[in-house]
Structure formats: structure tokens, C-alpha cells
Symmetry: C2
Subunit: 370 residues, 2 copies
């Protein structure tokens, strides 16, 4: 119980009869270590063991050295649990990859009131870590700009753009995944496709639409109609059906008149469009997929939060779709971050999405199409 000070390199130096600088060379390993005589090395290491030495990482990182800590910052609170469930695969990927490369992981989860900001109180907590993986939708752009200005290494999960700066990120390859689904449909014989997307201007929305156009072109078809749902990405849950059923019913009529046999739906974020579409189709007597093949460009709303008034707007169909490789994205982010730490250039990686077979696609009805 002696309140003995922790041993420092000075203590070791004294015990081993060398200078503190030499101790540092031995302890920190790396290049310097090789230039120390073997017997000196041994003496230092012995003394270190004897004294129960352990580096002070604060001092080390103060000198600009590495901490061997990666950070994970989430712009949205990771709690409560249903959010947590969404983020969990990302975390898992980040955790595993971090452990595999021999780093520890610092979860920046300390709660601050209001929207989460990196630089609260002008304090950038992230810098305890050597670099950081960033996650979340409601990104504070001022924070991001500040991080760039500070030259702090970070990698975003999901495509993010900042004018005039090249950010590093890993993002799902929505474009290719969407194009592949188009080709699957045309391969089944569909010749009239329609495309439905939310009314926002986010990167994922644009990427998917570009994939749709690419697929249509690859299939040798003329341009196909794209419809923007005249509703924001995330209307209040209890109003979604009211807001959507009118437009969707109208669209369904239009498509039928146009001979459309297949539909691709970009679900947007946290969206209930696909559930609403399912209900509207039932009412309109449109069978999926017999009359209309439907493909979902992402995940349906999670059934987890299905309760109360919301429960009716959860789809239980097994949509033909693709899913995000969330764990893979987390892993890829870590590896990209490591490159950055080794002074690699800023890079943008895409990771393939995973196709899900589902049962909402079949050949077009006989006699349909051009």
C-alpha cells in the first residue's frame, strides 16, 4: 500500500545505469531500439520489469507519438436501444477491425445536451485518439471543417462532401447495387420500369438514381420515368399514410396506364414509403409481384419500433432488395483510417451492397410491355 510513485524512465535509467534517453530508445522500440547494444537493452528491460514500469501514454502522445487508440464518434446518440440496434453492426465492424490491427477503441459517447458536437466548449475530445471514425447523419459541418483545419485524421462512414476539401469516407456502393437490380429486372423481360425516390438531395439518393439510369442504358432501353415523391424524407410517422396514399394511388394508376411492369423504390431514410405502397397496392387491386414487380433499394423500416399507431405502417414482406454491409463498412473505415495515420492520401472507398433475393420480383405478366 506504499503510495509509491509509478516508475518512470528516469527510475529505470538510474537502476540500469544509463541515460533516460537510452531507456526511451529501448522502450519505444522501433528504429532506435536496434541501435542500442544488446547488453544495454537487456539491462534496461530487466530494470523495467523489476520496477513494474509502464509507459505514460499521455506523455507519449504529448510528444506527438501514437497512442494506439482509434476513436469512434457518433453524431446521433447511440442510445436508446433501437438506434443502438441500427448502429450495432457498424460498431461491431469497427471494434473488430480495431482490435485486429492492435489498437484500442475509444467510444466518444459522453452525453452533451443538445445536438452532438465535436467541439463543445472549444474542446476537441477526439484528439485523445490517433484518429477517428465518424458516424451519423446529422453531421455538423462546422465541426467537420474544424477537424480538417486541425489536420486531424478521420474517416466518415457514408459519403460526405465538404466544398473544397477531399474527405475520406467509406460508403455503400448504391449505384452498382441499383444498376444490378435494373439488369435483373430487364433480364426477366421487363421493358417498362418506373423509379420512385424521396424528395431530398442527399448523396445516397443521387447515387441510386444514377445507378438506375446507368442500368437502363446498359440494358439498351430508352430513358425510363423517374418520380419524385412529393413528401420529405421523414414525415411524422402518424401522418405518413395520409400524406403518401394520395400521391401513391395516382402514381400507381399512371404506371398501369403506361404499361409499367416493374418499380424500383428508393426508401430514403427511416422511411415508410414501402409499407404505404404495399397498402395502397392492395386497395388498388395491384398484386405484387404478379402485376407489378417491386424492388427496394435498401432496407425496409425496421419492424423493431413497430408499436402503437406506427405498427400499421411496417411492411413484413420479403422485398427483393439489397442491404448495407454495415459491419464491412465499419471494418473498411478502420483500415482506411490506418492508412491515413501512415500519411496515406485522403481516399473514398465504396463497399458492395449485398443483394437479397426476396419474393417481390417475377417476369412481367403475359401480354404486358411493348
Amino acid at each position: 500500500m506504499s503510495p509509491r510513485r509509478r516508475a518512470t524512465q528516469v527510475d529505470i535509467a538510474r537502476a540500469a545505469g544509463v541515460s533516460q534517453a537510452t531507456v526511451s530508445l529501448v522502450i519505444s522500440g522501433g528504429h532506435g531500439s536496434e541501435q542500442v547494444a544488446e547488453h544495454t537493452r537487456t539491462a534496461v528491460l530487466d530494470a523495467a520489469t523489476r520496477l513494474g514500469y509502464s509507459v505514460n501514454t499521455a506523455a507519449r502522445s504529448l510528444k506527438g507519438g501514437r497512442n494506439h487508440i482509434l476513436g469512434l464518434y457518433t453524431f446521433e446518440s447511440v442510445f436508446p436501444t433501437d438506434q443502438r440496434d441500427f448502429y450495432y453492426p457498424f460498431l461491431l465492424g469497427v471494434e473488430r477491425a480495431t482490435a485486429e490491427v492492435g489498437y484500442d477503441l475509444l467510444l466518444f459517447s459522453s452525453v452533451t445536451p443538445g445536438p452532438r458536437r465535436i467541439y463543445s466548449d472549444g474542446i476537441n475530445r477526439l484528439k485523445v485518439a490517433d484518429g477517428c471514425v465518424l458516424l451519423g447523419r446529422q453531421v455538423d459541418h462546422a465541426d467537420l471543417a474544424e477537424l480538417v483545419r486541425d489536420d486531424f485524421p478521420f474517416v466518415f462512414v457514408g459519403r460526405r462532401e465538404l466544398p473544397g476539401v477531399e474527405l475520406s469516407y467509406v460508403a455503400p456502393d448504391y449505384g452498382t447495387a441499383t444498376r444490378d437490380l435494373v439488369l435483373r429486372l430487364t433480364g426477366l423481360g421487363h421493358r417498362r420500369l418506373a423509379y420512385l425516390r424521396p424528395d431530398d438531395d442527399q448523396e445516397p439518393t443521387r447515387d441510386r438514381e444514377a445507378g438506375f439510369r446507368a442500368g437502363v442504358a446498359d440494358a439498351g432501353l430508352p430513358d425510363q420515368p423517374v418520380h419524385v415523391l412529393p413528401v420529405g424524407s421523414s414525415p411524422p410517422v402518424d401522418q405518413v399514410l395520409d400524406l403518401l396514399s394520395g400521391p401513391l394511388t395516382m402514381l400507381l394508376t399512371t404506371w398501369r396506364a403506361d404499361g409499367v411492369t416493374a418499380l424500383l423504390v428508393d426508401p430514403g431514410e427511416n422511411d415508410r414509403t414501402i409499407a404505404a405502397l404495399e397498402q395502397v397496392a392492395v386497395r388498388a387491386g395491384v398484386r405484387i409481384p404478379a402485376d407489378l414487380s417491386v424492388v427496394l433499394l435498401g432496407e425496409p423500416s425496421p419492424p423493431l419500433s413497430a408499436r402503437g399507431a406506427d405498427a400499421e405502417l411496417v411492411s413484413t414482406r420479403d422485398w427483393t432488395r439489397f442491404t448495407l454491409p454495415r459491419e464491412g463498412l465499419g471494418r473498411a473505415a478502420v483500415h482506411l483510417l490506418l492508412d491515413l495515420l501512415d500519411d496515406g492520401p485522403a481516399r473514398q472507398l465504396t463497399v458492395p451492397c449485398l443483394p437479397v433475393e426476396g419474393d417481390t420480383v417475377c417476369p412481367p405478366p403475359v401480354g404486358a410491355g411493348a
Copy 2:
């Protein structure tokens, strides 16, 4: 893209026309801050904002200040996933509590070959954190002793003892939970109980047995038989049934002859005893609970890892039992750790276990008992 150095307190001092020490007083808040003239304060804060200042936490913690980081160290690897599933509730509790108290959480998950040790290379990584929550069974006692010697604040999840030292831990209250189950059984009319425990000398095993004896005494019954299963806590899975069925069959016969109507089983760690007992009982024509009420003092083996040869040794019955408040233990550990950081004394907390109703208990058969 100017490689501008991050602003330091010196820069602020220059900009605000004060000394760096004054900047420190203002920035670090606390007592000092109040003794600085209001206009000086303002000037410093303005300059700090203008320069985009953020404290260097490494420097701060080098001076012995707090990092506002708590660590979580697991002696066993948290991966692969089935282990992860076991530990997940602990992690969740630790994470939530840590976030709630305004700290960040450092997961010490960096992989080292061999059994996990804190002091690999004589380096104690834990000290980046202000304090640490420790988790896991295969504890390295040398590590623990070293931590104590270093006066590093830590809290164990689960009862741990180190000769001559008072460790801090939070542990499930096995004793009370077991006693309560005894009283439940005697309340139903049982008068002859038997107790079955694994052949180890661990704290949880002793705590439960003590709870059994206490319950028996509280119920006003004479001492009841305790049987030690002549098999280690975790025999190889493919041999468990062979090893257990003989002894269990014999015990079953003994109990029947003795008029035992209720059995309490300490499942030990990662144990398959309860599943083996279920099978043996079926073969011996003993119905649970009609002939014999059975209470499980903990969790049955997780059905998650049920595959191959192992599958037959997973019980699917809804045993009357108690479960560990894993999230609660994690939370309690964090709060205890915080007390320690505020120079609180080492403490040992127990957290109640949660009773699970189950359906393996009923009144004794008519005509049975003394």
C-alpha cells in the same frame, strides 16, 4: 490546407494580451476561473473561440488532470460473437452509465497473442483512462496485484479476492437469490430439499451454497443434503453426458429414496448439468416438476452455441431460476469507479438477481414428505 499548428494557450495568451497561466485558469474552469476579472475572462474566451482552440487532453492528463475517460478491460476476448453475446449486456450497462456521467469509454480490445494480460511488454495500457472496469473469469492475479501496487483505480465485475488487499467489485447477490428460492419452495410445502453444486471452490459457488443453508435455516428446517457433482465445472462438451449420467442417475435414486421433493441446482460456469439432469430424469421416469421441483441457480447454457454433437445437451425448458442483472452490474461498476476516482474508499457492492418464474416448480406430490 495551410499546415497551421493547432492553437495553444500560448497563442491565446498572445492574442488576448495576458499570460498563458491566466489562459489556463480561464479555460480549465474550476476554482481558478472565478478569480479572474470578468473582462480578462471574456477576452481570453473570445480569443480562444477566434483561434478555434481546443485543449490538448494529453498535456492536461500529463499534469495529473483527468482525462474523462473510463476504460473497460476484458480478460477474455470479447469476440467471437457468442462470447460477445454473453458480454453484451455488461458492455451496454457500462457504456450507458459512462455516457450518463459525462465520460467517454475506452474499450481495451487490442488483440495480444495468448491469454490476455494487462501488463504486456511491461506496459500498462489501462492508464490512458482515469480508471477501469474489469471483466472476465480468467483473471491474471499478477496483473491485479500490479494494478493495486500502481494505485490505479479499478472495479471488478464479479466478486474477486486478493489476499491482503481490499478490491472494489460489484457482484450479483447469489446468496440472497438462492435463499429466496429456498423459501419459495418451503412456502409451497417442500420439506426435503437437495442441493447440487459443481466441484469447484469459486466465490459464486460458495455464495450460493451459503444462501441455501441460510434459507433452510430461515425455514426452520434441519440441515439438508448438499451433493457435489464429482465432475469439474467445464468438462469437454462431447463427454459431458457420459460423465454426468452415471452420477446423476445415482443421485436421483438416492433423492427418491430420501423423500426429496425439490432440488436446487448450481449450474456452475458454462455448464450442461441442467440439460443432462433433464435427460436423466426422463429416462428414470422422474417427472419435473410433478415428482420433483427443480430450481436453477443461474442461467442454463446458452442455446446459441447449440450445434452438432452439442445440440442434444441444450435444455429448452423454462426453468424456475434467477438471472444476473448484467446491465445493472455494468452500471453499478461505473458508479463505483466514479466514487473511487473521487478518492472514495474501496467498496464491494452486491446487486440483486432477478427471479424468473419458469414452470419447473410446484407443490410436492400428495403423500410425499415427512
